[in-house]
Every structure is written in C-alpha cells, then in structure tokens.
C-alpha cells in the first residue's frame, strides 16, 4: 500500500549527466536509455516504499511469482504452488540463481521475511507480511522472528502457515517486500547493503552494472537468470536523473531517451512536435482525507457533508487538472477493481452526491450550530506545482461557495507524511496506489487499526465489514461487505474522492513490449525489445 509520491519533490533540481549514449535505442546491441525523476532512495527490498525503488528492484529482483504483461500472476522463482485456507506451499525451481551463480533457496525467502518483520529493521511495509502466522506479533516485538509461520522442508520447498484464510495471498507474494535476500551476502555488507551496485546481489532479469549516485544507473542482462532466453534487452541505461519534466522532454526530442512521462505543460510541446502520445491509467486514487480526531472541526460530519455537496470531481478533472487520462473520482475503489465476476463498480455502483449549493449550505449551518465557530481549516498538500494548483482550487471553491476559510500548508513529501501521521491537519490531499490485485488493497485503508488511516477514522461497523471481507474467501460475501463499506464511506463522507490518476507519456516507436503496470514496477522494461 504505497503512498504516492505525487510529483517531484524539488522545484530546483540539479541535473547531472552521466556518460551520454549515442542513441536512445540501439537495435544491434539491444540497448535502451531512459531517465529517472530521482535517484532510487532505497534498494533494500525489505525497506523500499517508493515507486522509483520499486521500479528498479522489479528489474533486478524476482519474487516467488510475478505479473505478466496482462497483469496476471505467472511463476517466478516458484515453479508451482498450492494455497489452502491455512497454508501455502511453494516449489522453487532449481535453476533460479543469484548473480554470483549460487542457487536461490527457500531459506533466502525466510530470511528476508523474518528480517523485514524484525522491529529493528523498522520496515514501513512490514504489515504486508501480516498474512503470515505470528507476523504481526513479531513486528510488535512480542515474539522472536523465528516464530514466523514459514519453514523450508528442503532447499526448494517453502511452506507458509497463514494467520487466517486469505484469498489473495498469492498476489501478495509478487510484492517487493516478499523478494528473497541472501543471508551471507546481507550480513557481509552490514549497513552498506544495497547502498551501491556492488553492495547488492541480484536474482532478477537484470543486474545493476554501474551506479553513479545522482547521475546514472546502468542495468545489464543477468547471465544467471533462469529465464534469460525470454529477455531481449542487453542493457538498460539510465543516464539522466532529473525531476525537471521539460528536461525529460528535451532529452526525448533529442533522441537521448526512449521513454518519458509528460505533464500538463510539456504535453502541449509534445503535440506541436508531432510526437505520438500514449496514456495509461495508474490505478491510483487521489482524494481529500479529513482529520476525524476529536476536537478537529472536520470531525463534524455536517462540514464534511457540506463539502461533499459543492465539490465536483468532474470539474476538477476537466478544468483544473486538464490533462488527459484522469477520471473523476467516484469512490475509494477505482474503476478497474474487480468484483465478483465483472468490475466492482458495475456490480456495486458508488453513491454520488449531487452538486447542490442549498443542501450544502443547510449542512454548513447545522455544522455552525453545533460547532459555534469554524476555525480556518488547514489543507495539507505536497509542494509540487500540481498539488498547489489543486489546493488553490479547493481553497477558492470552498470560500466562494460556502464561505469556509482554508489555509494551505505546503510541505515536502517527508514532512507531509510526518504531519499526516501526527494528525497536524484538517484536510490532507492524499493518494493511494494499489499494492496487489484485490479490493482489500483499498478496503482496509480506513480500518481503525490501519496506521495509514491518517485521519484516525473509527467506525466499528466499518471495521466489522473489513474483517468480514478479510476472513472470507467467498467472493460474493467479500464484495457484498465492500459494497456496504462503500456506502458507509459515502454516508459518513469519510473522504472526498478527487480523481483516478491517468498519466501520459512518450515512447520511442522502435521500443516495443514495455509494460505499464498498476501493481509492481512501472514502467517495466523486462520484456521490452528494440525493433529494426
């Protein structure tokens, strides 16, 4: 459940160019060059949380299973598996190797999972392993790591005991935190682990061949990878690391990089350059989250209902964001989430508020009667240009329609996260990207025990529904619970959905087979190839 780095963190960036490749794509050597917006902050798979690190790790590491081009689960290190209500067994392939030629064994997974759960590691993503028996207790420091419900009956058979029946467990194992880590290597590197190209050992399709910090990062095909025959590219060179979107576009136009994202400004230049623009829906939902802590004005439901009745997501998407690909937000569950047999949205249409100023004013006067005085509300947002624009729009909207005063608090990503955790806000602009292909990746977000429930919304009925959906493996029961939960989210105006994120990008016409993903590494160049 990765929190989204909405956009670049720095407005002033330093761009350092590494060695410059001749072209962005090269057919003869099957080499491509592209650019990153920032240096991967954390390549330790047990601790990685951000999208750039997940993207790089997805190319150089492999878990038990992986996603294919269509987003379906396919075998990775595990050749086959069997999941029951109480356990899961994985049979590992014998030809899966680390980049030094040693085999990947079941012990590497056990070590990684135990280590990620160790309170000393302080992995922010430890909770994704809570599906395993005793995982939560270990992470809280109540049990030793050896109590984790996972054993190896031999080097190539991994047996997992589950905490409770979990229908989507196999999808979880594709996630970054579930990647293997080899104990002897990890311990030999100590705190330097994953700090440099040579401080990391790889079992994925590529290895990091060279890493000049803040300048370039080159990946080369891994000769020990078990499925190396499916990999066409010999090298992926990241020669540029800069957050400046215009610099990315210029590099693309100059033929220096093969792939680049576009934003609200650069896409117009791309159009005049007659470049073919592609779009992709990231599957993330962006919303305004209220602070439900007692004493906060936003803990009053009538204020939240008033805002719900003046905010029009369609206007925001079409007039304020005004870049293609975004969809107006309708509920916590984005349009792609699967229901029992078709899309969740078609089976359980989300309730929507009509934009009704009179109703909103009625709610607001009720709120004023209850609160006596409404202080200016603090709207916490990240400091990216697009987030500021959205914040100013909401500020203007609420002031002109309802007379509600909003002060905008712009903070860097880290600082915003700290303020979200400490509850130092009334409304926060947040986003949520899915981690695995199940409705639960969104559903438990507002459960009272979830630390990512930054507004501390508590509703026993909501918690009960989440438990129903967690404890059942019957799709109909789970989806019915989620349908009811969607209704609660609306009735209580727990959050205000803004938009489902879409992005637009450019790709070199000779580069084929790049996968854009809702889950896992995105963009994924693993199966890409350069055509003549």
């Amino acid at each position: 459940m990765r929190l989204i780095l909405a956009a670049q963190l720095l407005s002033v960036t330093f761009c350092c160019y590494g060695q410059v490749a001749a072209t962005s794509v090269d057919y003869a050597t099957q080499t491509i060059t592209h650019a990153l917006t920032e240096e991967p902050p954390q390549l330790n798979s047990m601790k990685a949380t951000d999208q750039v690190s997940v993207e790089i790790l997805g190319h150089v590491m492999e878990g038990l299973v992986r996603y294919d081009r269509r987003g379906n689960i396919t075998p990775g290190v595990a050749e086959r598996w069997e999941v029951t209500d109480s356990s899961a067994t994985f049979w590992l392939r014998r030809n899966a190797k680390w980049s030094d030629g040693k085999p990947v064994t079941a012990h590497d997974f056990i070590f990684a999972w135990q280590n990620a759960l160790d309170p000393k590691t302080a992995s922010e993503y430890a909770f994704i392993l809570y599906a395993l028996k005793n995982a939560e207790a270990i992470n809280q420091g109540e049990l030793p790591t050896s109590a984790l419900g996972v054993t190896a009956s031999d080097d190539y058979t991994l047996i997992v005991t589950l905490e409770r029946p979990i229908g989507y467990f196999i999808k979880l194992t594709a996630f970054t935190t579930y990647y293997p880590v080899r104990r002897d290597f990890y311990e030999s590197r100590g705190t330097r682990y994953a700090a440099d190209a040579k401080e990391l050992i790889y079992n994925g399709a590529f290895t990091i061949s060279e890493w000049v910090h803040s300048a370039s990062l080159n990946m080369a095909k891994n000769p020990h990878y078990w499925d190396k025959n499916s990999i066409t590219l010999n090298a992926i060179n990241i020669d540029y690391i800069t957050a400046d979107s215009r610099a990315h576009l210029n590099l693309f136009i100059d033929g220096k990089i093969a792939h680049t994202g576009l934003d609200g400004e650069t896409y117009k230049d791309a159009l005049t350059q007659k470049l073919r623009i592609n779009s992709f829906s990231t599957g993330s939902i962006f919303f305004l989250e209220y602070n439900h802590r007692p004493g906060r004005a936003t803990s009053n439901i009538n204020i939240r209902k008033a805002i719900q009745h003046v905010f029009d997501p369609a206007e925001m998407v079409n007039r304020v964001l005004a870049t293609p690909g975004n969809l107006p937000g309708k509920s916590l569950f984005p349009v792609w989430v699967k229901g029992v047999s078709v899309r969740f949205r078609d089976e359980y249409p989300p309730p929507t508020a009509t934009i009704d100023l009179n109703k909103a004013k009625q709610y607001l006067s009720d709120a004023r009667a209850e609160l006596k005085d409404i202080p200016p509300l603090v709207l916490l947002v990240s400091d990216s240009p697009i987030a500021s624009k959205q914040a100013e729009y909401v500020q203007g909207l609420l002031l002109s329609k309802l007379g509600l005063k909003i002060v905008v608090d712009k903070q860097t990503f880290k600082q915003r996260l700290a303020k979200m955790s400490s509850g130092d806000f009334d409304i926060v602009g947040a986003g949520w990207g899915p981690d695995f292909d199940d409705v639960m990746t969104f559903g438990d977000l507002f459960a009272s025990w979830n630390l990512n429930n930054r507004g501390r919304y508590t509703n026993p009925e909501y918690d009960r529904l989440v438990r129903v959906a967690m404890d059942s493996t019957v799709p109909k029961v789970r989806m019915d619970a989620m349908g009811e939960l969607q209704q609660i989210l609306f009735d209580d105006a727990v959050l205000l959905p803004q938009y489902e994120q879409g992005i637009i990008y450019l790709q070199h016409p000779k580069l084929k087979g790049v996968t854009r993903r809702v889950f896992g590494p995105d963009p994924d160049f693993t199966y890409a190839r350069v055509v003549k």
Binding site: K268, L271, L275, S279, P324, P385
Partner: protein, 460 residues
Amino acid sequence: MIDFSPAEKSVAIEQITRPSLSYWQDAWQRLKKNTRAIISLYIIVFIAFFTLFGPFLWQVDPALQDLNQVSQAPALPKQALLSAAYIQWQRIVIQDFPAEPDSYRDQVYAPKSLRLINMATTQGVRLSWNPVVGAGGYNIYRNERYPEGFNDLGLPLGSTYAGNEIGYEDRLGLEPLTYYYSVVPTDGFDEYEVYSVLTVTPQLTITVDEAKARNLVSDTARPGDVISLEFHPLGTDYLGRDMLARLMEGARVSLFIGIFAPLFFVLFGIAYGGFAGYFGGRLDAVLMRFADFVVALPFLLFMILFKIAFGVGPGESGIIPMLIALVLLSWPATARLVRGQVLQIREQGYIEAARLLGGRDHYLIFRHIIPNTMGVILVTLTFAVPAAIFTEAFLSFIGMGVVPPTPSWGSMCNEGVKTMLSHPHELIFPALLISITVLAFNLLGDGFTEALDSRLRSRE
C-alpha cells in the same frame, strides 16, 4: 583733470534679479530638466495610483475563480450561450454487436459515420460512430490541427473497452476552438492503424444556474439566450482569476516591501552610521566591524531562519518576517555611506566654527551634518527601493513570501513561468510591472544623484 572719479551709484547693479534658490529648489529645477527622471517620476506616480486606487476602480475579487475562462489571453468580453443544466452522459452500448471480436484480424476498417450527438459545446462534446467489425474497443484522440498521419492524432482522450461501446464524451478543458477528433479501433489492447476524423467547433456555453450564481444574468434568463461573460481586460490565470485584479493586489505586497523595508533600514543606517562617524575613534571601529559582520551574513539562509524563528505557521504570510529580515540585513550599506559623509563633514570649517561658538552635539548633527548628507541618503533610498522590490519578487518566486491565494508580482511570475510557452501573458504582465517599476526607481535615483550633487549647482 581727475583721472578717477567715483562711479555713479546705481541700484540696478546690486539688485537681485533672480529669486534666491535654496538647495532643494535648485535640485528640483535641475531634476525637471532631466527628462528620463521626470518620466520615471510619472511612472512611479501612476504605479502608486494603480496600487492604491486601482482596486476601487476595478472591483473584481482577485481570488474569484472563473473556470469557464481559464488562462485566457487579454481580449474583449466573450459571448456565451446559456444552456440548461448538464445532463449526465450515458455510455452508448449496442446490444446486437459483440463486445469482443470472435477472432483476431490483421486489419479492420476505420469507424464509419463518426458524428456528433447533441450540439458541441464547451460543456461537452459527445461523439458516436458505427461499430467496426473485429474491434474490441476504440481509442479517441483530439488534435488542434488536422492530423497529418497516424502519429499525429493528438491527445489520447480515452478509450472504450468493448467493440459495441460506440460513444465518447469529451469534457477536457474545452475551448471554443476547432478540434479534430479521431477514433481508432483496437483489438482490446493494441491499435489498428486506421482512423476517422471529425472536425468540431464547440460553442462557448455556460449553464443558467452558473450564470445566475455569478450574477451574469437576471432571473428571467433562459437557455438559448446569448450573454456576455465576465470581462478580463488583461486575461486570466490558470484558475480563471482576473489578471488585472491580481496585479493590483500583488502590487500592494510588492510595493509594501519595496517602500517600507528601505525606509526602515535607511533610517536605521543613518542613525548607526551617523553615530559611528560623529563620535569616531574606537567606538567607530567597533561599530563598523559589527556592520562588516552583518554584511557577511547570507541573506537567504537568514530569511529561512527568520521564518522559522517567527513561527510562521502553515498558510501564514511570510511578508512581515521578510520585512524584518530585509531591515536587519540591509542597513550596513547605508550606515557605511552615511559614516563616510559624516567623517568628511565633521572636519569642515563651518562645523569647527559652530563648535567654537558653543554649538552642542545634537545642534551640530541636526543643523549641519544630517542636512548635508541628505542628498546621499535620498539617492540611497531611491536605489534601495528597486532592490527591495526585486528581493520580494525573488523570495516570492521561490515560494518564501506570500501564501495563496494572495498574489504578489514575484509569485505571479513563478506561476506564470510554468505556462510560459502556452500562455505567455501570465508571465509577461507581472514581469513587465516588476521591470518597469524597478527601472523607474533606478532612473529616478540617477536623476537625484545628478540633481542633489552640490558641485553641479547651476551657476548661470
């Protein structure tokens, strides 16, 4: 014979033919002859008028968002058609056609009879087309010029994911321009390289409810009427806010810092420099070393520290800390200048004379020394004003000054620079105002330098 005789007494010779000129009168006369300085003076008076009285003449709320007119260039008021309330778009799915093709085809035909449903307005453009045999979905593109080929279809607006879903509604930032819509059939994932194009020019419309809410029409207005939208003489910004109103509002912040910061630090500089210069000796040395120390402090770093020290919370303006930081860090230049002048004047004969006649310190300072440094001080002040305006603009540009929705010229430039290529007016107007104001103050300062220099006093 007498060689010499007294000249006849003539009153005319001793008569003062011209009025006696004081120092200031003379300076003013010479300033008037300096055309550049006088033009600058007029510009400054105009800007002051623009700032102080502009908002009373142009009573538009600078924070009011007009999302019907986002990023409009300067233009005359636009005419819009009143429309009924927006009706939710229903997807067009036909039943007697397969959603997914039964078999994969190498090629398919381009969609036939691509057409408009309803009238095309800026509220929405609704398209439909005939289903394509073999298609598993469609991608819809929009361009602002006729597509020159498959790679020039423009913006990817969206997709339908079924061969029998044959409609699309575009509401994305529509303006009354000519658009070229293209529809490309897909097999559900990949595109076939065929497309159909439809040329559409949406009509600028506004719903009756919205027009009423904005006080654009009377209660009797009904759909179909043509009305004038709000007039934005200098265009609008990225949220449809009136540029003229924002420039006036922004001028208040910029000029507040521009006038008051120099005023305060020049006053302090005079006191400090005058004190050090007049008393001299060891005191002077100590005071001036402290001034050197202040000069060495990094401005930006201190600006950030002040902001934290003042506890400027989220969403609070950083203008007052900025003012204080400017005053605390900028005075040494004036202090040095005044000290130098005072050191020089102190040794003059008339000061000695005044002292011998029993003049006290404060008499000497206020009667003789300060008036004689006035010229230098005035020049410093006029040059300090543009520097302070520039500093404010710079700090607001990097986001350390005003907070939204309050504009300042610097923060408006910061916002405008992001859309510099597509909507240059959002950058040009604030940048132009900063440049003109700074230039005017500088030229006026030059004029003062010449006019107040007593060595250049007119001798005719």
